[in-house]
């Protein structure tokens, strides 16, 4: 924290040492992205974009991640609200369960999904009786993305809802709102920056999803080959295509990160000042 006073030389030396100790990780975080940015000439990039891999993968990624986002926000918001307003041990257990996919390796999630929806899986027999095949379809891509991205949204939404003063909701109720009205008119608008941030994180995670998708949905162009899988496929034939795909993904992700950082600040600015203490 800065107090606006000049730094003592010894403090400055200490801070310089800290930065020096952090140099390797900073190098690893930043330099590869720069390398990616300068890896290809505009001509290379253009030829990458024209590759038959590019268009379908981009379209599939856009489509599936948007559907994923709708599912995650639509089902994750009520879940987060319930978790934020429950205090029992059941709720705490459920909250921990929701976080599981963050720590479980994506490949394991892929296998688990196969064991659930695959032909010999838990629901394999009833699903094939209905003539429904889930693995290696676009639906499988969406399911894999939902599982790995939902925790990021739910976590952020729970935190945002928990910060809301319960008295404020009681006030909304005494002013004539039903529980639902108080939620929609007061809780959601107040939590909005947190919800938007969580949704952006979840979207970024869905966009980058690779391992679970590869195992559960395969790598079929046009059906299950999303951008990350197309990069994987392109690497075997034409590195330029892989780089072009990577650049587009990186640009979208950077845009998301920027929005993520700016949105809460813009919101606070719009509300006049930082929120006062409860």
């Amino acid at each position: 924290m800065s107090y606006g006073t000049p730094e003592r030389p010894s403090d400055r030396r200490g801070r310089l040492l800290l930065l020096l100790a952090a140099a390797p990780i900073l190098f690893l975080l930043v330099v590869p992205l720069i390398a990616l940015g300068i890896a290809s000439s505009p001509a290379d990039l253009a030829s990458g974009v024209r590759s038959p891999l590019f268009g379908p993968a981009l379209w599939l990624s856009a489509r599936t991640t948007l559907i994923t986002l709708v599912i995650v926000v639509g089902t994750g918001t009520p879940l987060a609200w319930w978790l934020a307003s429950s205090s029992g041990s059941g709720a705490r257990t459920l909250e921990a369960l929701v976080d599981l996919p963050i720590v479980i390796p994506p490949a394991v999630v892929g296998i688990a999904l196969l064991e659930t929806f695959g032909r010999s899986g838990l629901f394999g027999t009833p699903l094939s009786a209905l003539g429904v095949q889930v693995p290696f379809t676009t639906l499988a891509v969406v399911l894999a993305q939902v599982v790995v991205s939902a925790p990021f949204y739910v976590q952020a939404a729970v935190a945002a809802f928990r910060r809301i003063d319960r008295d404020m909701l009681l006030v909304a109720r005494t002013l004539g709102q039903s529980a639902r009205g108080a939620f929609l008119r007061v809780a959601v608008p107040i939590a909005l920056p947190g919800l938007v941030g969580g949704a952006a994180l979840a979207w970024a995670r869905a966009l980058g999803e690779f391992g679970a998708t590869l195992l559960f949905a395969g790598n079929l162009p046009g059906t299950t080959q999303t951008m990350p899988l197309a990069i994987y496929a392109a690497l075997e034939s034409d590195v330029r295509v892989a780089v072009a795909l990577s650049l587009v993904l990186a640009a979208v992700s950077l845009g998301l990160l920027f929005a993520l950082r700016m949105a809460p600040r813009a919101w606070a600015a719009a509300l006049g000042t930082e929120r006062r203490g409860a």
Binding site: D167, T174, L175, G176, A179, R185, P189, G272
Partner: protein, 237 residues
């Protein structure tokens, strides 16, 4: 109009057992921290369900432990101003007041017009365009009071409306509250922690300690014969 609340309940470490009633004049509640003042207001507003008791507001039984009557907060006709005012940070002062008029179903423009008239009556119309985050504590209280009054409640519940204000703001708001509550002729239950506020507001004061009413009466009478150390210190300070 009158109200009464007989409440018996346990909430965490608090064991609340009170029997209160009031008419058109404001009633003050005083008591040490953790004595159950805020829980009392929240329970009357409908946040908690008492184990037993009866709550009546303006002739309507909103809670009855005997026969499962337990009206939701939105059907109790109370105006609640919590500590810290509870203004919605994403709405302007005007829209905070207009929020109370949503159940009437009028279009936004009309609600805003009515809200502005209420704010004019309470002398805070000049704050209408401001967001709560940019208002001072005293200004927030005025807007919160306007919002609570907007839906014509049959009982006002004000939790420490004068806390967290500096001395001049406190003096101004004290006079303001006393005159507006008297003018409204509306039942009000006001939690307070300063003797001067109680003298200015309350025709009657109840002392709540560890969930029980330990003394009731006019501020003068209670100050003359304090029943507990807390009351003595309260009126000395």
């Amino acid at each position: 109009m009158s109200w009464s609340a007989t409440i018996r309940m346990r909430l965490g470490a608090l064991d609340l057992d009170v029997d209160l009633r009031g008419g058109n004049a404001p009633v003050a509640i005083i008591g040490p921290n953790g004595s159950g003042k805020t829980t009392l207001l929240r329970t009357i507003a409908g946040a908690f369900r008492p184990a037993s008791g009866v709550i009546e507001i303006g002739g309507v039984r909103v809670f009855d432990g005997e026969n499962a009557t337990d009206l939701a907060p939105e059907r109790r006709d109370v105006g609640y101003v919590p500590q810290g005012c509870g203004l919605f940070p994403h709405l302007t002062a005007l829209d905070n007041v207009a929020f109370a008029l949503i159940p009437r179903g009028a279009p936004l423009a009309e609600r805003r017009e009515s809200a502005l008239r209420i704010m004019e009556r309470l002398g805070c119309a000049h704050l209408s365009g401001r967001l709560p985050g940019s208002l001072s504590g005293g200004e927030q209280q005025r807007v919160a009071l306007a919002r609570a009054i907007a839906c014509e409640p049959r009982l006002l519940l004000l939790d420490e409306p004068l806390a967290a204000l500096d001395a001049p703001a406190r003096r101004a708001l004290r006079t303001y509250l006393a005159s507006h509550l008297a003018e409204q002729g509306r039942p009000a239950l006001v939690v307070s922690h300063e003797a001067r506020d109680v003298y200015a507001l309350g025709t009657e004061v109840h002392v709540l300690e560890r969930g029980r009413i330990v003394q009731s009466g006019t501020p003068e009478a209670v100050a003359r014969a304090p029943a507990t150390e807390f009351v003595e210190a309260f009126f000395e300070g």
